[in-house]
Symmetry: C2
Subunit: 251 residues, 2 copies
């Protein structure tokens, strides 16, 4: 079977070579790549071609570019950006319904929690308990510490995702949370939010300690379901349609 001949675009060739070097760890985070003018000689290409390649790599989040002396392209630590960007665009462009994002989140958080129970290390549980304690303090401190309280709540979710021991789950959830952040303020209207949330989390942590996997999954799921409802209700109060809610993601 014959296949169309591939036309080598210089730019893409450069991208591929550098990308391969990074993926194969010949270049590691923090490394400085040659300057544009050096790369120009290395690849025997014009500076424009080199620049296009670097632009693409920067957009992908694989390198960071600095100006001035000691400037140049530096290999970046692989971050969530790479995954997040794509998903975020999908959400923006397709106007994914809030309902879809919500049910996806419920399922993933439930899954993560279930796995977390099986794999919980003692220090993870200690971390959860410490966060819970911090939540309690911020709750009792009243409105002044409201932001800190919700920050704790967010950290609980992140830790739980991490405890799942599954990178894919952890990063996908991070992306969702990142996108939900845009309207996290909608939580604030809820009068007894902190007290309710603290109650839910105490139960969850307790169940994790006891290793009750099914119970944890169930608790987390209903916690997330309630959180989604709060967001939805908050949006209603602020006169946003459910459709706007989806669109509002990421400003």
């Amino acid at each position: 079977m014959l296949v169309p001949v591939k036309q080598n675009r210089v730019t893409e060739d450069i991208v591929r070579q550098i990308e391969r070097a990074i993926v194969s760890h010949r270049l590691t985070p923090g490394d400085r790549i040659q300057t544009e003018r050096e790369l120009q000689k290395t690849f025997q290409a014009s500076r424009g071609a080199v620049r296009e390649a670097l632009s693409i790599l920067r957009q992908k989040g694989m390198i960071e570019i600095r100006r001035g002396g000691k400037g140049g392209a530096y290999v970046k630590q692989v971050g969530i950006d790479q995954v997040s960007e794509g998903l975020a665009f999908l959400i923006k462009y397709r106007k994914v319904a809030f309902q879809e994002l919500a049910e996806f989140r419920v399922a993933l958080e439930g899954l993560a929690a279930g796995l977390a129970v099986e794999r919980a290390a003692p220090e993870d549980i200690a971390g959860l308990k410490s966060l819970l304690e911090e939540m309690k303090l911020n709750m009792e401190a009243g409105e002044a510490s409201l932001m800190e309280f919700y920050s704790c709540e967010r950290k609980m979710h992140e830790l739980l995702a991490k405890m799942s021991g599954n990178t894919l789950i952890e990063w996908t959830l991070q992306t969702i949370h990142l996108n939900l952040d845009a309207y996290a303020e909608l939580h604030l209207w809820e009068k007894n939010g902190p007290r309710q949330l603290y109650g839910e989390w105490s139960e969850i942590v307790k169940a994790i300690q006891n290793g009750e996997g099914v119970m944890v999954t169930s608790l987390v799921r209903s916690h997330v379901v309630r959180s989604n409802q709060v967001l939805k209700e908050g949006a209603r109060r602020f006169g946003l349609s459910s459709k706007d809610l989806g669109r509002m993601i990421l400003k």
Copy 2:
């Protein structure tokens, strides 16, 4: 709160403007954007800057660039590429363990199947039955139609994902399948694969028809679990370690 003034990079400004036009549907798939030389005048920027911007947009999968007469930048249909690229890179770079990919897949397919039961339209069920029939024919045709058989099996998964009615689930699963494709051949060693698979799918389709959500979820999950085992076992036979299996993803 004040924020440092942003150094407007011309290139990024151009990217943002075109991107916004696409997201807001002022540009729709198939539309032809101005030529580079026209954009140069429109944005009052150099052609190099315009080209860098177009390169980035192309890399993101938002436009397609053609050369020659009637060439130029054409707006592309938003595809799975945008999501897939990021996830694929993550998998490549981080060498996600096969185990992680596997359990992520089990959970998502189970979820999708459960939702599919609730939302199944008559034509979807008809589609499943027609695919099942096709599977049966290819199974009875023996080895000659082996590839067609597995192609059907793949389509079953895709349809089920689509029936979930959740774009996020559907696209994430597509990405995973895309990545698993790289070693789909490992299925082939299995002697009674087709017969077993056909049996599993008949049960699944039957349960969907009867609207037995829990049963469907359970059947699909064990189907996927078995599929994962087959892949793992196949890899062992071919002398690949489980780690290689993870690395093998995407060539």
